[in-house]
């Protein structure tokens, strides 16, 4: 018999964070993410970590960034309205290159919307919500076990690439309890610290991988951090050439690690005439739909991104190369579908199945959406 536990998605997120070495959490209560904060409030003190409930989501991410520069692995979690407030500091964390993890448990919006109902309406907000040109890393787990795994992964990416990483899942996954088997310990790569003496240290001088080393405040390196466009000394500049170099490097460090960051999972795509593209809870419905369709001899497969940003465009192009139809199912009125269309580039017909009423897409709806094309998928 398996040594299994029934764990809620939000609890798995908190467990993953603690396992990854998170020792600082700042947050503001909001449905449906509050269980993450509650778990952290109970357990971080046992790990000699700090939990603080801030006055809003803006200050929550501000405190997380401050703690990060003081050397802590730090995170916050929120949902739609709070995620809107955090956009200011997501941009700051990109610019100042502050490692941090932000969890957005998506609920139905816009605005206050349906607080206790799921959606996938924040996909583009996670990519483009903060102003200015910036890269983004956003991970999309589809099970309670994967929430644990990808929260751990988010810390590793944040610490090694010196940037904010977003874990994006919906209310259903946040509140669903599933059988999980969790590793007692996990080891992840951390941030790189400088090898030069403090007098030689240039805080924004990157190595070949585009990532500058980061000492903690108090470790003897007295350096300046700013959200203003800055030079390699970390000091503000108005020189266009230096500004361009900085912004390009912030993007290039993600692009350089792109193949390591981007992960997709496929199910029976090799011979598929129809490929379903879905993430999060919708991928679970799609998997069941694929199994039903296959049981009827229909060539249907599933392509599921574990990383939604950077968008897995090369993987989508390759995996759908032999398909005639790609069905994008998402709990919004069509956000990711345009990225899929861009990646498929006319090589297959791209259809959308969208739902934005606060209810999850189920396997039956996907099968119905496939019905017109199933004839072609028959062997």
């Amino acid at each position: 018999m398996k040594q299994s536990r029934l764990i809620q998605g939000n609890e798995a997120c908190a467990l993953g964070a603690v396992a990854a070495g998170c020792r600082f959490y700042a947050g503001y209560p909001i449905t449906p993410s509050s269980e993450i904060a509650e778990y952290m409030a109970r357990h971080l003190p046992e790990e000699d970590g700090v939990f603080v409930q801030m006055e809003d989501e803006i200050s929550s991410l501000g405190a997380v960034i401050g703690a990060s520069f003081a050397g802590a692995r730090a995170m916050t979690a929120t949902s739609g309205p709070g995620f809107s407030l955090m956009q200011e500091h997501i941009g700051y964390a990109v610019m100042a290159e502050a490692p941090c993890v932000i969890v957005d448990v998506m609920r139905a919006g816009p605005s206050t919307g349906r607080p206790t109902s799921p959606s996938q309406g924040d996909v583009m907000a996670a990519r483009w919500g903060t102003h200015g040109d910036h890269p983004a890393i956003v991970l999309t787990p589809a099970s309670v076990t994967e929430i644990f795994e990808l929260t751990v992964r988010a810390f590793e990416l944040a610490e090694t690439l010196r940037m904010p990483v977003i874990v994006l899942y919906d209310e259903v996954l946040g509140h669903t309890r599933e059988t999980v088997e969790l590793p007692p310990r996990v080891e992840i790569a951390g941030r790189r610290t400088p090898r030069v003496a403090p007098t030689e240290f240039r805080p924004k001088e990157a190595g070949p991988d585009g990532v500058p080393p980061l000492p903690a405040f108090g470790d003897g390196y007295r350096f300046h951090v700013t959200g203003l466009t800055h030079d390699e000394r970390g000091f503000p500049t108005d020189e266009a050439e230096v500004a361009g170099r900085l912004i390009r490097r912030l993007h290039a460090k993600v692009e350089a690690h792109r193949d390591d960051i981007v992960e997709v999972e496929t199910l029976l795509c090799d011979d598929a005439d129809i490929v379903i593209f879905a993430f999060g809870i919708v991928a679970r419905a799609a998997k069941e739909a694929v199994m039903v369709a296959r049981a009827q001899g229909l060539r249907v497969g599933l392509l599921r991104p574990r990383t939604i940003w950077p968008f897995p465009d090369r993987e989508v192009a390759k995996i759908t190369a032999g398909a005639s139809v790609v069905l994008v199912a998402e709990m919004n009125l069509g956000q990711v579908v345009r990225e899929v269309e861009r990646a498929v580039a006319g090589n297959a017909r791209v259809e959308g199945l969208f739902r934005a009423d606060g209810e999850a897409i189920d396997p039956e709806e996907i099968l119905q959406a496939l019905a017109p094309d199933l004839e072609g998928a028959a062997r």
Partner: protein, 271 residues
Amino acid sequence: MTIVDIRPHLREWAMPHVLCAGCAHGIVGRAFLVATDRAGIDPDRMVVVAGIGCSSRLVGYLDFCTLHATHGRAPAFATGVKLARPELTVAVFSGDGDGLAIGGNHLIHAARRNIDLTVVLFNNEIYGMTGGQVAPTTQRGAIASTTPRGNTEPAFDSVALMIGAGASFVARASASEPFTLERIFTEALTHRGFAFVEVLSDCPTYFGRYNRLGDGPEMLAWLTRQDSRVAEPLAAKRVVDHLPIPEAPPGLDLGVLHREERPVFTGRRSG
């Protein structure tokens, strides 16, 4: 008292600085550096967090760990730094618009928690960096680029606000009295808990020019004189004669105005 050479605490490589001639913020910054030295703070363990604005740009020239954060949010960033690494001495430089308008909520909650920070609020009664717009501290009647006919709103009393919010050390000082500033900063930095110091500073470029208060030296003299500052000098210069002069203009109290011992928030099981 010995003279403190502040040059070792400056990032001279980052000069020239961005502040205007006649701006008194430099006097405040100097007094702060003297105080860190007198308080015996190891510069490697000193962190100064700032928001956005003229006062906040000052931190770039201080040779500590300096975190130039976002507009009004410096107390939140400083909270994270201090909670994550309690052995650091953490201070915040903020302006009057930064700390009392966009960042008012963060300021009052940091004070309420009584977290061990020293917050210096530079009050020059105007938004300098964005070009002279009215601030929550601009006195009634004063001219700003967004109050061309005179400010009709009352000004914030930050000292009363901070005492009400729970700050355990609250002081007000003037850039025109640098030795008093040094003493108050030293006390604030060694106070355990949330210490707040409002510093009356000047902005000759905007506030002084719009209100005909003269250049840096004249404004410093005006700051020194004003135990009853509100509206009187402005009215005397008749720039706002269409506005009623408040009866008995209240003076601003200077000095350490509130001090108490209160439990300090550390976010940890053992304080």
